[in-house]
């Protein structure tokens, strides 16, 4: 059964994304897709979806959504919480890394994302009509998304109605943490266009994230990466998300999900798949350091990430939210149990912990 949500506040830097649009790079169509596919998978897992169905990616502040028909489960990943306003006017706090279920008339106001990007998954996925095999939004050419654009007030998004117990919610045992340490890269394809000093600087000095950052790329600022006599221009060849190109000014640019398919600047290295999601969470001023790894190390890192994600998903727990009035519990001796997790669902100032049952 399907359900429908209406956008009542569009938020900022919100777009529909899935795993991206492959198969059309030969005609210049970027892959797009979630900047952080791991967190997209996490949000989807919370609502019981497959890893890569379409979600709302939130770059700055989340949208407000009203359930019009059907019962919808919303899952949040990233450092981003929400408020649920139900038809009785109660305001319930929704913590990051958990779900909230909306009955018709309920509104969820998703807050700002405090660090990088966050994801909003809907039961059954965001069912906008896809283009060229994907629902991902590529704004410049008006491909995918909601009729080629970001969601706006009044848009209606279709998803699936909740199957099973609508009074159950789900939450992660702990937030997902990406790996730390230097960003791992594989050198090339044009590392031979740089001086030995430039290569040494790239792999030892910090490079600061500048304000010039979007879904297409991150401009970095640090010790100049000088080109050798092969020069700072090449006849265009292929690039990929994660590719680090260096124009004549010697300051690196890391290409991101919406990047062009080919480019004419020498490319010193490419960030490995396992570390690319980390770049979705950097902020201006953050310092990045790079370390070169082999293909075998990159493959091992990616397999480990897949394993760790499966383990994280396996630890998602269901719980019965305390906003749900359970008379037996209310009049029983169960108030203390409810207080255990009293910080997550409460009215403004009014305690609503009527006997949470951990399932």
């Amino acid at each position: 059964m399907s359900a429908v949500l209406e956008i009542i506040d569009a938020g900022l830097a919100v777009s529909v994304q899935d795993r991206g649009r492959t198969g059309y790079r030969n005609i210049g169509v970027p892959v797009s897709g979630a900047l952080d596919p791991v967190l997209m998978a996490a949000a989807n897992a919370l609502v019981g979806n497959p890893s890569d169905v379409a979600v709302l990616e939130v770059g700055l502040s989340g949208p407000s959504l009203k359930a019009l028909s059907g019962t919808v489960r919303v899952g949040l990943s990233g450092e981003m919480g929400a408020q649920l306003v139900n038809t009785r006017g109660q305001v319930l706090k929704v913590a990051p890394w958990q779900t909230a279920t909306l009955f018709p008339g309920d509104v969820i106001r998703i807050g700002g994302v405090s660090h990088g990007v966050g994801y909003v998954a809907l039961s059954g996925g965001v069912q906008v009509s896809g283009q060229l095999g994907s629902r991902s939004t590529y704004l410049r050419a008006a491909i995918g998304g909601v009729q080629g654009r970001a969601p706006k007030v009044g848009d209606r998004l279709q998803c699936d109605a909740v199957r099973g117990d609508p009074w159950l919610e789900y939450r992660a045992r702990a937030p997902w943490h990406h790996d730390t340490g230097p960003i791992r890269v594989i050198l090339g394809p044009q590392e031979d266009h740089f001086t030995p000093e430039a290569l040494a600087n790239f792999l030892s000095r910090p490079y600061a994230v500048t304000r010039d950052m979007d879904r297409m790329g991150l401009r970095l600022d640090g010790e100049k990466l000088a080109h050798n006599d092969k020069g700072a221009e090449i006849v265009s060849d292929g690039v990929a998300p994660g590719t680090i190109q260096v124009p004549a000014n010697g300051q690196p640019i890391v290409l991101m999900a919406d990047c062009q398919t080919s480019g004419g600047y020498p490319k010193i290295a490419t960030v490995i798949r396992a570390d690319l999601p980390r770049l979705a969470h950097v902020r201006p001023g953050d310092e990045l350091r790079f370390v070169a790894v082999s293909h075998a190390e990159a493959a091992a890192a990616l397999r480990e990430q897949v394993r760790r994600l499966a383990e994280w998903i396996g630890m998602i727990q269901s719980f019965r939210p305390p906003g749900v009035i359970d008379e037996a519990a209310l009049y029983g001796a169960n108030l203390i149990c409810g207080a255990v997790r009293g910080d997550e669902w409460n009215l403004h100032g009014v305690n609503l912990q009527f006997g949470a049952q951990h399932v």
């Binding site: 198969g23 410049r140 990616l302």
Partner: protein, 255 residues
Amino acid sequence: MTTELAHPPARLLSVGDAAWTVEFGNAIDPAIHGRVLGFSSLLDTLSNDGRLDGVVEWVPTFRSVTVHFDPLRTDAMALHDLLADLAGKSGSLSAAGCRWRIPVCFDADCAPDLDEVAAAKGMPREEVVRLMTETVFTVYMLGFLPGFPYLGGLPEALDMPRLATPRKVVPSRSIAIAGRMCAAYPWESPGGWHLLGRTPLRLFDAANARRPALLAPGDQVVWQAIDHQTFDALELECAAGRFDLSSLLTEGETA
């Protein structure tokens, strides 16, 4: 036809842990591009036979083919060896695509840089238009934007460096030149090329899943001058989705 003898070996370059670039040369050159087309065609055949497990897609450029793969489904080094072997075996293809005759309006409002280019080259504007419309251009690659074709074959007489200051907004469907290249902007975007005309045709249509980009690498293009009245009429027809793009194919002339 395969001409095995004169081929220098291809180089394989890492583009991270999920792509290899098979590089046949480092210049814009029909012979190098022939090898790009030959290699792409071999990948097409193998892929259709299900023999490129884990390969997601490949992107031909002027001088190389970037092969994107899923590192969870195929071993990078094994694919490296396979691609190196295939690059040694694949032959050359000459441009084997369609030949298109594409209408372009060269009137002043469609061609903001035409007079300047004519002045810089010391020729009347009509001569620029004549050179543009008598040349058979070849599509080397698509990139930069969805459906953006890089066309080779611009006469040396029109060789111009890029604009010193790129425009913030190039109108969509502008026809432009820079260096020895010609291009068409499917989308409004910033750009540093000289704008010599504008086509009423949509060069990219995401709703056309079978062929979203009008042009493909290896295609040939001839610009056909039209007056403003025809431009306006065709623009309306295209916007209404009534224009039959196959009418632009030159009869019996597959290059």
